[in-house]
């Protein structure tokens, strides 16, 4: 197995409280699972997201950032 096959990216997801986060919450209620290397940060609205938040996530070691809202 090559190193690429074992690479597990750490992903930070910024999710809107009113839609994407609610969907993730519902997924939890439905006992659906998603990979543990995805960490979700709830925002009151994705309009709150600033470039500084994305940079801080990457600076802290995240391999990728997704925004859902």
């Amino acid at each position: 197995m090559s190193p690429n096959d074992t690479f597990e990216p750490e992903i930070i997801g910024f999710a809107c409280h009113h839609c994407a986060f609610a969907a993730a919450d519902l997924a939890g209620s439905m006992r659906l699972s998603y990979p543990t290397n995805v960490k979700i940060v709830r925002l009151p609205c994705t309009g709150r997201l600033d470039i500084v938040h994305v940079l801080k996530a990457l600076e802290a070691g995240a391999d990728g950032v997704f925004v859902a809202g």
Binding site: V52, L55, K56, L58, E59
Partner: protein, 222 residues
Amino acid sequence: MIKAQQKPFDEIRGMLGNAKNVLILGCGTCVTICFAGGEKEVAILASLLRMAEDIDNGDRQFREHTVKRQCEWEFLDGAAEEVKNADLVVSLACGIGVQATAQRYPDKPVVPGVNTSFLGLILEQGIWSERCVACGNCVLDKTGGICPVARCSKSLLNGPCGGSVGGKCEISPEVDCAWQLIHDKLTAAGRAEELEEITPPKDWRTSQSGGPRKIVREDLRV
């Protein structure tokens, strides 16, 4: 207000030299308004510098601090502790703030993180335009509130010149001819005849051409 643009990232990084503890010092006034060197830009720059340092396996540390105004001693003194702990300061203030910081903390290297561009105003989000060159001898009363010194490419006082075509300047179709604007404004105000009066050569000694300027107000001195 003063308008500035942040220098290219590689240029800023190239000024760090051997400094291990770098302070990114922002200014909360003009450069905040034009998104060049306020608290947010300090955070972004510091984050980018930290990541670049990680990629290069460097060991520089970057701290962030922003004062309300770098051009006033009282505010600048609020950064004393942060400056003391740094080997080098990257000032994101205008040239005045950079010089004030360098003067207040003479033992500390202070480098500029922005290019101070001009005195201007915002036309729309993301677009700024020059409006004043601080010539020290304002003529806006004669020109309908439109400055020919700053906005005419030749700083003519008796315009327009032959390069004015369709209301635009010959240097670019995107640049308004200031004298066309002045003419239109005064005509609309019923003051067009005032333009027949020839303005004599301007005394440029009050401008930067006369050397560094200083204002002394004896009534305000203590």
